[in-house]
């Protein structure tokens, strides 16, 4: 147990990176995901099918491969990109496909009457989307987005394979240094993740209940 107390500040500081990857990931994925969702909903075949293929292919590849690929590719081209940035880019590329599904479901859940009425008042498709449909859809998407945020918090632990000093990497490194208390340290890591993710999913469920009112 001493190992936990002695290294607590070092380990908890890693949560900055954990939340950083998750926040940047979800933020940028939202835009990329919305773009993908719009492309996927489009009736124009040469926009729809590439989007579908892209989403299906990206989702069939594990995130850890994206993390390795983007990190080594960019480093191999000579850029001094930080591992944090590489991991964030990989997360954005991967998670945007899941966000695309959430956005698509959100848009589809808005009654078509809204779009018809908006078009009837003279708004173009894009403006109708932007001013009428998406604001309503985003409210509906929030619980699912919070839930996706929770998933990214857990997936951020994968960033340790390229050396991002996030929370689990720090716990793991501490264990490699202390060596005698694996259960205590790893149990501590499990506890922290549980507290964070459980609270977030509880909040997500509450939001879902509130939205249904």
């Amino acid at each position: 147990m001493d190992a936990i107390w002695e290294n607590l500040p070092y380990m908890l500081a890693g949560l900055k990176y954990t939340f950083g990857i998750a926040a940047i990931g979800i933020f940028f994925s939202f835009f990329l995901g919305t773009l993908l969702a719009v492309l996927r909903l489009s009736p124009i075949k040469w926009l729809h099918y590439p989007a579908v293929v892209y989403i299906e292919v990206v989702r069939s590849v594990p995130l850890i491969l994206f993390i390795f690929f983007i990190y080594f590719l960019i480093a191999g081209m000579g850029y001094n990109i930080s591992s944090f940035a590489s991991a964030s880019v990989a997360v954005v590329v991967f998670i945007s496909t899941y966000i695309a599904e959430i956005v698509r479901a959100g848009i589809l859940s808005i009654d078509s009457g809204q779009m018809e009425a908006a078009r009837a008042t003279g708004l173009s498709y894009a403006r109708a989307m932007r001013l009428v449909v998406l604001p309503q859809a985003v409210r509906r998407m929030v619980p699912a987005l919070v839930s996706e945020f929770t998933i990214v918090i857990k997936e951020s632990s994968l960033a340790m394979v390229i050396g991002v000093p996030e929370f689990f990497n720090r716990v793991f490194t501490t264990n490699a240094r202390v060596l005698t208390e694996p259960f205590a340290l790893l149990g501590f890591a499990a506890f922290v993740y549980f507290v964070i993710c459980f609270s977030l999913s509880w909040w997500s469920r509450r939001l879902e209940i509130r939205m249904d009112v």
Binding site: P62, I64, F69, L73, K154, F172, F183, L186, A190
Partner: protein, 252 residues
């Protein structure tokens, strides 16, 4: 892009490395799928039970699934590999298996199962609970025994509902196997890393493995979708007109 040396993945050594990695990945996936299905089914059956005497079991299972689901896979992996499998007693217990599978391989399977079983249990639970009680009552009223009711009426409906989301979970297990290189299991991603560190051909080494994973996972989803439609046709009854698509599909 500098000279791409396709030989690193198409040459005999590269092919051998990728093949051995793929073998490990597929083995891990199969064991992970089988055992997490079993574990998930048991947990689900425990959670849907209504006997008041089993209430503590229900609470326990609810707690366990909630804990397992909120912890990242890497933490499961580390706890099993460095924690549980670090004890001499456990080593002695798994001694007969170590001739075929390394300790890390066994730890990986345990981690995959504990991570995935809570999701699988949820799938089974909602499947079991979605069958209205009326079905069982009506079937038994027509004279079918409890066993026959289960076999002929309840379980076919459960399977139909459960296969698509279960298929999603199975593809998830296959993707989850990619993290085991962290504890030293020589799977496909490990081999990609090996090839890259010797030849520096990032695009080819990781690109090839990404393509292989993509093919495996897409094939898996397609297979499960076929299974789902097949079951729909067999057990869907009047609800399934010819050519109708199932209610949910398996995606990667």
């Amino acid at each position: 892009m500098e000279g791409l040396d396709w030989n690193v993945i198409l040459g005999p050594e590269g092919r051998h490395m990728l093949a051995s990695g793929l073998a490990i990945t597929l083995q891990l996936s199969v064991y992970g799928i089988v055992f997490s299905t079993l574990a998930g089914l048991l947990i689900a059956m425990g959670r849907v039970s209504t006997a008041p005497a089993l209430a503590p079991l229900r609470w326990f299972l609810a707690g366990v699934t909630e804990v397992c689901r909120n912890i990242p896979l890497l933490v499961h992996l580390a706890v099993w590999n460095f924690g549980v499998f670090g004890f001499a007693a456990v080593h002695a217990f798994t001694e007969p298996l170590t001739a075929f599978y390394s300790t890390q391989f066994l730890a990986s399977i345990c981690a995959l199962v504990t991570y995935r079983c809570s999701y699988v249990a949820e799938v089974f639970r909602s499947g079991l609970q979605s069958i209205p009680k009326g079905q069982i009552e009506a079937a038994m009223a027509t004279g079918l025994s409890y066993r026959a009711t289960m076999r002929r009426v309840v379980l076919p409906q459960v399977f139909r509902i459960v296969i698509p989301p279960l298929g999603n979970q199975y593809v998830g297990v296959t993707k989850n196997t990619s993290v085991v290189l962290v504890i030293g299991v020589p799977d496909l991603v490990f081999q990609a890393y090996q090839i890259e560190s010797v030849t520096f051909q990032v695009f080819l080494a990781f690109g090839a493995v990404m393509a292989i994973f993509s093919l495996v996972c897409l094939a898996e989803s397609a297979l499960l979708n076929v299974l789902a439609s097949h079951l729909d046709r067999r057990w869907g009854g009047a609800a399934m007109a010819k050519g109708a698509r199932p209610a949910a599909t398996v995606t990667a």
